[in-house]
Symmetry: C2
Amino acid sequence: MSQTWRTGILPNLSQSDRQQVENLQQPEKVARNQAIFSEGQVPKGVFLIVSGKVKIFATGDEGKQQIIHIAKTGELIGFRAMFSEEQYRVSAIALEDGAIGFIGKPEFTQFLDGNKAVRNAVIRELAKELGERAMYVTLLAQKTVRERLAIALMRLSEVYADEPINLTREDLANYVGTATETLIRLLKDFRKEGLIEVQTRKLRILDAGGLVRIAG
Amino acid sequence: MSQTWRTGILPNLSQSDRQQVENLQQPEKVARNQAIFSEGQVPKGVFLIVSGKVKIFATGDEGKQQIIHIAKTGELIGFRAMFSEEQYRVSAIALEDGAIGFIGKPEFTQFLDGNKAVRNAVIRELAKELGERAMYVTLLAQKTVRERLAIALMRLSEVYADEPINLTREDLANYVGTATETLIRLLKDFRKEGLIEVQTRKLRILDAGGLVRIAG
DNA sequence: CGCCTATTTGACTCGTCTCAAATAATGTGG
DNA sequence: CCACATTATTTGAGACGAGTCAAATAGGCG
């Protein structure tokens, strides 16, 4: 089980193609906690995250969120449901104040039809994510919460680059797939073991190697 | 969380397109337990299951299989890794004697390039599976083993249509994502509750409604 | 028929969840 | 900008689901 976690469609395009996609939208401000789209709605296009981060999650039967992905600036989101011609199966909510642009389905598909490179990038991206999700399933089914937390922190440190990871305990728990209380206790362990540094909601990795060792 | 589980690319094509795909391959016999492809290999094309069933699984760190999907006659498998231009992240092994055809990557991609309907079907299928897998992740993270077993049996009853479900206890456990012993105990419960009928390895659902109720 | 593998059962342990309550942080209206 | 209300975080105690290990039994294949 190697762990290469998603990349997104745009970073794999040429400068020119990327620019063309970006020209299809007009950024609009979004506030923290604002919903971008919700489970059950019918997709009318895709969204480009111009700035900020967005959590993508499925809602379980008791309303518990399972966070599938934290999308960051530059990512295109919502294309999955659009291509499958289904309703959204997940919801997207802004984690921070930011800006998001919308690209309507007609414009986007027309653009795709006329551009083989982008079309292939889309197929490749869908296929990649599908493969990653197979690993994710295995991980959830076979790893302990402690191991999953270590993996989650490593993934998140890529999303947050050099900033500290900044999520509520509940969101972090829902990302790992555990109860909030369990997450808090494990976080305390990790801190005591010198793996991470925590200041309220800001979390920094001190010993990446140690996390890798725990992740197995 | 609704549960519409995968369909495959071919059933969504026109008769003529489907025929053209089928003409690209030559069926060859495969024996039970024969590997079709394995994690880490480089994909050279896709496989069409002409007859028989195939288990698709990821291997966890301790060698434990996580069965992602049981593919049946008529399904195209292995296209995920081919499109993502990565190695296989999962393995495929025949569950029964059967026949499988191979379609090389050049032939297949050339065919796709020249056929917009099929190309779109591929995108749609990838997108659909990706959505289903999000549900799967949520299910694994939030449901008890008992609930997951109920869901697994319902999914499998579609794969096996009117035949009885026929899997080793270990495969069934790996499909549900649990230990073999736990699976066996739950199977006994289900039998005592009149939900299923079991004769050695053959398993039949007696009370689908009851399973739905357990699944939640 | 007999070996090898699969299945089943029992006993035990441990990780993780739940519920409840205390404390801290955050945001909001005046 | 402060005080209050609300929400988030932390801790404790207890219960229970599910895993592991070991051993017995049954089934299937050569």
